[in-house]
Symmetry: C2
Subunit: 552 residues, 2 copies
């Protein structure tokens, strides 16, 4: 097998543990913190988690290891989208487990949660593990999107665990997967299965974050990769001086990725979904924000620029959500066939005009024709508009182009506008983890095993103080129920981990808001370049601007 | 001004010169080689370049500098698309020029060749130059696509040079720009202007390459950046196991970029335009190559993969070029208005069906509707199809999807096929230059000044033996006319530098061809990761696989 020079070199990297975990397994003891309460809806959540609610927060510290020495068989699951560092969680878990007792075993369930349900797994050993140290991807055991959430699934899981003598399951996933980890932990405790469940916070989206979780892993590497590319494109724009680049970045339900990339690269424009929603901005108002920057720069002779667009932006625009709901209604059931039978777009358009309310039609009318057609022609098996397929970067560049034409006619703009479009998502989810993610993930995995050894369940592996050098990081655990509240999901009230949106009064957004007018009118681009794994610490080891500002 | 940590660190990097240029300006002397002949059409080219044809190849070596000590005022021009390392050519040129005589001056003409014609320039000084050392982009003076090729332009250029006492011009560009540099050199010599002209080989496309030019600068960094992203996507594909990624990479007239990326990443499929042309493959045959890989992998349970598509691929397909020619003919002159007046696509389609030959219509009929419409609806100001806008990655994934549906109906395929699309171009043109490009470019610039000091004109700055450590590189100059032949361009025979296409009997393609069947059916992905500027030499300093294979 051929491997790249960087991959060979990364095999030699030793991830840094928090200082308190560096004294060897036999010198790690538990320090109990205070009992916890859920962030909201305490009574309801306490009632739903009678066996796992209200436990203490804990941290580890140097001291005699007093954990029972029983043999552990740990099963692990990678859940959902890839995030750089997942392999290091596995390696940290494996190393702690084997250092504690060479008889211990680590089973990797294959292809995500379904691997547990289908009893499909691989036993980890040195030879296999060593091929994945400090590499990107989830290919060590694969991932999947099956949700572990029903009693039937839990019963099967308990049976599979019993069959293999599994004493604990580590679930590496996002907010939903960790919510489900808490529910599974409660089930396992309620049924006296003896199986512990520990979660690890993963997602490049950065929306699994709260007063206990400083950041989810993968966010650092993914945003650094996108920022590398955005910076390169900015340099190109500033050299060629002829294009506006509309760059969409991953992140459907929150705009953390876009915001972090903006802090790293200082583009002319970065849209933030949470702000668009809070201000109830219309599509037209959003396009005007961009057009204002284009016009201001054109007036200074600069007919080029860069705008960052978060993937989920249109879903934050109230009038757009209203339009989508009406379209779904308009084509429900048999009406789809009726619509499809209309032979020309003109006839279809008339049908739409008759069917939508005046408000929705007003929104529809300003969309570029390509997007109009997409809304009606590409629908999912249930007949619903596939909002995720909407190319919002092209939507906004087309709207901006229309607005500039109107301004030109009105004599308020006299520049040139030519756009290029990009979408960055898959490019960053499986990069070699940055030193930060390599260290953080290894620590999360190592720490997860310490939680297992000390008998905790329903806990999230927690490593904090992350804006400091790894030596000063704090390792411990937090009951997942502490992060929960009740939310309406699919018509039912459910206990869930609260998703972290961009806070408009938070320091990262505030910094951005204070600088964006200057960035919009001038050229303040910064060029982060490629992730560096070697070299000066200030180049290799710093984590995100978001975390630096939050901890400032 | 805020700059990134990597940019600060890169300011400290000292580019490596060839060993023979390391002894200081006063210890560089010329070693004459043999007189040269053009690669073809010797008589015609000799007649066109009476003052600059047939000169000796030269190399530099250690020895007393015998060049006249006259004050030099050098003008430089960045021509055409950005390529990583351009700033280092400027820095190398500047450093050699100032080390020789602090009175020497370097003028940067702004915005490409038009800066020379419009007498628009900036004088370089330490403070300004130091901000651009080892950085990407061409923003130090900007670039442009104006071609310097007419007598009128040359006369203006001579006048501008005279006005500022310019003694030499350095043109940093691709094959066309260096062709024009040779013509300008001849003009300046014939008119006794005293202005020398030196070229430097730039292009990320890698098609300015011949027995004298081992590679153009920027190719290394750009292909490494694209390979980083392709490798990341491959790792994602291999983790999620649900998508085929169709990745288009820049490179219109040759497929060197695609081939180098394939050698770096070992994807399942990489199309090579030159092979498609040589084998006169149809669109359908090309799509079958991909569909065969999809089917073979599906039979092994792998419904995912990666295909690299060179940007210009459709132009290499003979039947497609024929179709384009017929469409341009069909819509020439007034017929465009007639076509546009047809109210529905169905009527337009009937018009097309009537107008095309049966052969062209057969090709048109198999195209996805989106591409069909694009061919007719988006045309340039002359009414011609804009081939460059064709999204060939989507064209082929749609055709593959159709083929797989047919195979499924025939019972010869039973997999799932879901595609994602990417295009990488702007992402790599302005990256921080790799150590290789930083060194190579600095050397090209330094060396260009030595050619100037020794009075040469019509030469290309030549640095060779590049697959070896910089210490062993060979610096010198080659008359540009040596690389020329006569070609038909826009209906006229012109002397031009022969463009380098991928050679189907060359070592890089041969290596690829020997391995691609294995790569197509199995998963042999390699993951190069981000460009590293620090760390082990085998990670930081190696140039392309293409050059390694060519020099093996």
């Amino acid at each position: 097998m051929i491997i790249s020079p960087l991959q060979s070199a990364r095999y030699q990297y030793s991830p840094k543990l928090p200082g308190m975990l560096r004294n060897g397994i036999s010198e790690i003891c538990v320090k109990n913190g205070a009992p916890t309460q859920s962030v909201a809806d305490q009574e309801k959540i306490a009632a739903l988690f009678p066996n796992t609610y209200g436990k203490n927060e804990i941290t580890f510290q140097k001291g005699e290891n007093t954990a029972p020495a029983k043999k552990q068989v740990v099963g692990m699951i990678l859940s959902g989208g890839q995030a750089p560092g997942g392999h290091n969680v596995v390696c940290g878990l494996y190393d702690a487990l084997k250092a504690t007792n060479p008889e211990n075993e680590l089973l990797g369930f294959l292809g995500g949660p379904s691997g547990l349900l289908e009893d499909s797994y691989r036993v980890m050993d040195d030879e296999y593990i060593d091929k994945f140290r400090n590499t990107g991807g989830f290919d060590i055991i694969g991932s999947g999107r099956t949700k572990l959430e029903t009693e039937e699934q839990f019963a099967i899981a308990a049976e599979v665990c019993k069959k293999h003598g599994v004493t604990a399951i580590v679930i590496i996933g996002g907010d939903d997967s960790n919510t489900n980890a808490a529910v599974l932990a409660e089930y396992m405790a309620a049924h006296n299965t003896g199986v512990q469940v520990i979660g690890c916070p993963k997602t490049i989206d950065g929306d699994l974050k709260n007063e206990d979780i400083e950041c989810s892993f993968g966010f650092d590497t993914a945003t650094k990769t996108y920022s590398e590319l955005i910076g390169n494109i900015q340099r190109d724009a500033n050299s060629a001086k002829k294009y506006w680049h509309f760059i969409k970045v991953m992140g459907r339900s929150a705009s953390h990725v876009a915001l972090e990339c903006a802090l790293e690269t200082q583009p002319n424009i970065c849209l933030i979904g949470e702000e668009v929603a809070a201000k109830k901005m219309s599509l037209s108002a959003v396009a005007d924000v961009i057009a204002d920057s284009v016009a201001a720069r054109a007036a200074k002779g600069m007919n080029f620029g860069v705008a960052i667009i978060p993937e989920g932006i249109v879903e934050f625009v109230p009038e757009f959500s209203m339009l989508i709901a009406e379209i779904n209604e308009l084509l429900a059931g048999e009406k789809t066939a009726q619509f499809n039978a209309l032979p020309t777009w003109e006839e279809k358009y008339a049908f739409i005009q008759n069917g939508l309310t005046a408000e929705a039609m007003a929104v529809f009318a300003i969309l570029p024709q390509g997007i109009q057609q997409q809304l009606f022609l590409e629908r999912d098996p249930h007949g619903n508009v596939q909002v995720s397929l909407i190319e919002s970067e092209k939507l906004f560049s087309a709207m901006v182009s229309d607005k500039l034409a109107a301004r030109k006619a009105a004599g308020t703009y006299n520049g040139k506008f030519s756009a290029q479009h990009h979408f960055f998502g898959y490019e960053g989810r499986c990069a070699f983890p940055s030193n930060f993610d390599a260290d953080y993930c290894y620590s999360l995995g190592y720490n997860a095993f310490m939680l297992i050894q000390y008998g905790f369940t329903g806990y999230l592996s927690k490593v904090s103080n992350l804006s400091k050098p790894a030596e000063e990081w704090v390792a411990g655990g937090m009951p997942i129920t502490k992060m929960m509240n009740m939310e309406r999901r699919n018509g039912k009230d459910k206990p869930v981990i609260r998703k972290a949106l961009v806070e408009l009064d938070g320091k990262p957004f505030t910094y951005f808001a204070e600088h964006r007018q200057e960035w919009a009118e001038n050229t303040c681009f910064t060029f982060p370049g490629a992730i560096q794994y070697y070299g000066p610490a200030e180049v290799c080891d710093l984590t995100t601007r978001t975390l630096a500002l939050e901890k400032a």
